[in-house]
Symmetry: C2
Subunit: 322 residues, 2 copies
Amino acid sequence: MASIKDVAILAGVAVGTVSRVINNTGAVKPDTRKKVKEAIEQLNYIPNEVARNFKMQKSKMVSLLLPSIWHPFFSELAYYIEDELDREGYKLMLCNSGGRPEKELYYLDMLQQNKVAGIVGITYNDIEKNVNTNIPIVSIDRHFTKKITCVTSDNFEGGRLGLRELVKAGARKPAFIGTVPKVFSETINRRDGFVHEANELGIEHVVFVKPDPLEDEEEFFSEFLRAHNDIDGVFAMTDMFAAKYIERSSKLGIRVPENVKVIGYDGIQNHGLFHPVLSTIRQPVEEMARTTVRLLIKKINGEALDRETYRIPVVFRKGETT
Amino acid sequence: MASIKDVAILAGVAVGTVSRVINNTGAVKPDTRKKVKEAIEQLNYIPNEVARNFKMQKSKMVSLLLPSIWHPFFSELAYYIEDELDREGYKLMLCNSGGRPEKELYYLDMLQQNKVAGIVGITYNDIEKNVNTNIPIVSIDRHFTKKITCVTSDNFEGGRLGLRELVKAGARKPAFIGTVPKVFSETINRRDGFVHEANELGIEHVVFVKPDPLEDEEEFFSEFLRAHNDIDGVFAMTDMFAAKYIERSSKLGIRVPENVKVIGYDGIQNHGLFHPVLSTIRQPVEEMARTTVRLLIKKINGEALDRETYRIPVVFRKGETT
C-alpha cells in the first residue's frame, strides 16, 4: 500500500505539505493542493487519519450551541472558536438553540452517538441531568454545577472593576442593573463583585434586578428611573443593557456622563463609529474562545483537566460614558 | 420489525410526535422526547429516514461559507439560514473562509465526497472552475458566472433608490463611494443603479471607487474629502462605509445631515441605541436566507430551478442621516 512519502514524491512536494492537505491544517496553494490530491488518487493512498476515522467512526465535528449567533458577542465568539477548531482540523456545527431544550438535547444525542466529537457553547437550559462528567463538553459562562468544564471571563473581578471605575469617574451612589437567570449563570458574579467592592470601599449603592427574561423592558427602566433618581452611576449587566438605560434616561434629560456615569459589560463595540462609545468591561472573547477549544480537544483526547472553571481576566475599556 | 406506530403506542404519543422526535422538526417536550426515544430503543426500531441515510450515506449537513461570521450582516444571515435549515432537518456547518481559497476548496471536496449535502454562502475566490452546474451550491451576492444559483438583494434597484432618496432629501450633487472587488460581485450593481438613476434624472453626481481590499482607508477618505468638497450627498456601498465617512467628515466640521445627506446599504443597525442611526437601503436578510435554503434543498433533491439569479426587493429605511 502506498505511503504518504510516495504521495509526496509523486506530487513533488514535502511530506509535511501532503499532511497539511490531508488534515487541512495550514495554508496550501490551490495548485499544490491539486497536485497532492491527484497523487493521492493515482496511488490510491488511504491516509492513516482517514483510515482511523473510518475504522473508529471518529467524528471531526464539534457543535457550537448559542442562544443566537445574531448577537455581536456571540458572533465574535463563534468566529474565534471556528478559527481555533480549524487549526486543529475540526469542523464547526452551529446551532442557535434559542434556549429551546429539545434542540439542545438533540445535539447531546448526536454527541452520544459519536456524530460529533464534542460540544462547546452557552446553554440556558438545565440539561445537566442528561450528561456525565467526562463527556466532551465545555461550557461558556454557564455553570453546570460541578459537572462540566466552564470557561468564563472573570465576572466577579469584572464587577469589582466596574464599581471601582464608576467611583474613580466621580460616582457617589452607583447602581447595578440587570436580570437574574432561572439557572445559575456566571453573570450573577458581575453583580456580586459590584456589591462586594462597594461594601469593601463603603460606597452607598443600589442593586436593581428582575428575573430573566424581562417581561416588560419599558416597565423595568421606568421603575428604576422613578425609584432611584438620585443615583449618579450605572453598572449594567451587559452593553446592550447600558445602551438601553442611556437611551431611556436621555428622554428624561439625564445626561451621560455629566449626570450619570455608565459602564457596561461585554465590549460589543469593536469600532468607534457609533455613539455613545460605551465605557465597558471588555470580555476577552478571543482568549475565551481559543481556551474553550483547547480544553475541549483535551477532553476529546481523554486528557484530565486540572480545574472545572477557567476564569479569563477582563479589562476596563474607557469610552464616552464615564 | 417494529413500525413507527408501535413506537407511538408504546410511548403513548401520536405518530406525528414520534416523527418529530426522529426528524427533530417542531417542538417536543423533553420528557415526551425521552419516552419516545426509550420506546425506540426498547423496540429496536430503525426509522426509515435513518435507515435510508445510512444506506445512501446521505448527509444532512449543509456548509455555510462566509468571509467572517464576525460581522453584523453575516451573523444575521447565518441566524436565519440555520433556522431554515433546522426546519428542514439539516444541520449547519460554519466556515469563516476569510477569503482563503484552500479553505473554500476543502468544503467543495467535502461536498464532492458527500460529507455535506450542499453549500451556501459568500465566497470571494474564483472557485468556479472547480464546480459543475448541478452541484448543490447556492451563492449569496456573489455571481459564479452562469453556473451557480445566486440569491441577492436587488442591488441595482437599491442603487437607484439610494440616489432618489438622496435627491428627495435635498442633495443636488450626490456621490457614490465604495470599492470594486477583483471578481464580479453583485455589489457593483449598487453603483450602477446609482449612476443609472442619476443620469435618468439628470443629476450631477460623483463616483469615487478604489479596488478592494482598500490598501489605505485613511487615504481613501482624505482623497475623497479633498477632491470632492462640493458634494452634498453620499451613497456608501455599505453601512460601515457610510459610518466611516461620517466619522471622518465630522472631523472637518461637515455636519450630517445638515451639510451632507448620507445613505448606507445593509441595515446592520437593528436597534436605535447607537448613533447616528443610518439612513440605509435595508437588505431583506431573512428572506434572502430562507430563499437560499429553499433553493438549495430543491437542488439537493435534484429539482430544476427556473432561474439563475433570485433578486429580493430592498426597502429604504430612514434614519438620522438624511
